[in-house]
Point group: C2
Chain length 131, copies 2
DNA sequence: CCCATGTAATTAACGCGTTAACTACAACAA
DNA sequence: TTGTTGTAGTTAACGCGTTAATTACATGGG
């Protein structure tokens, strides 16, 4: 319950920024992974962006439709799909990154650097313990 | 991100139990609130169960259809809706509560009582700070 | 009384999480 | 080569979160 609320409280800070550019939270995560990695294959992308395969399929459709990414089959294995960030996608990342930074720093400052590290540490322990 | 994963890791423990009785996580929360409070009006119920009004409407339909709760208009104010837990609902709560207890205790034991309190404390601070 | 404003609940639309079923392709053995 | 098994993605179905629009009722001023 508390986890849910905390997550919601944090995301509420980012939502306006994403909504202003018509990008969902998950689309944003996918774009960021691609932005950092360049070309990634679907399964790994889903994993890194913490999105389930069915969701990724939908997200890919949306992002491809807006020319943010390109989609190609892997040569050598017709099952695999390779996703690559496109110029428009990079542009969006560049446009939003500073804003994101500000929001994040603000949260960190208000919550406290110490506490943030402590919290992340506890969460990781919890996750590892349960998975 | 970590918040999301942690929440997912924890809920994964409860999901099988709920699925076995064909109850969703939110339906379960609503039932528990009603179980503790008896009769509650819709807005307050949504608030206490941490569910948005549109979701509550859907949940009510489902729970009412299965005779777990009853729905009546408030006398004196035709807009308000009063929800009350029904015998079948109480029975479900009684049937699942012990199981729930075991799962919760197990998580607490594995994670550590200290850490759990610490985590909940941090989360609350975070929530309060952002809201 | 009548109308404007406010409030409670519902409905609608869209996207994601989750599970399961299905398609397409690959790998490997007979 | 063919058939079986495995793997990568996709599709489908259902429920919830989120926002906005809408309905039903209440309230207070004219």
């Amino acid at each position: 319950m508390a986890l849910l609320h905390a997550r919601e409280a944090v995301m509420a800070r980012f939502r306006p920024m994403l909504a202003a550019h018509d990008v969902t939270e998950q689309q944003w995560r996918v774009l960021r992974v691609l932005s950092e990695a360049g070309s990634v294959e679907a399964t790994e992308l889903a994993d890194r962006a913490s999105v389930l395969p069915p969701s990724l399929t939908r997200i890919i459709k949306a992002l491809e439709g807006r020319k943010f990414i390109t989609r190609n089959k892997a040569e050598g294995d017709g099952r695999r799909v390779i996703l690559t960030i496109a110029p428009a996608g990079s542009a969006l990342i560049d446009a939003l990154s500073p804003e994101r930074r500000v929001i994040y720093d603000d949260i960190e400052q208000r919550f406290g650097h110490e506490k943030l590290e402590q919290l992340l540490d506890l969460l990781e322990t919890l996750i590892d313990g349960e998975s």
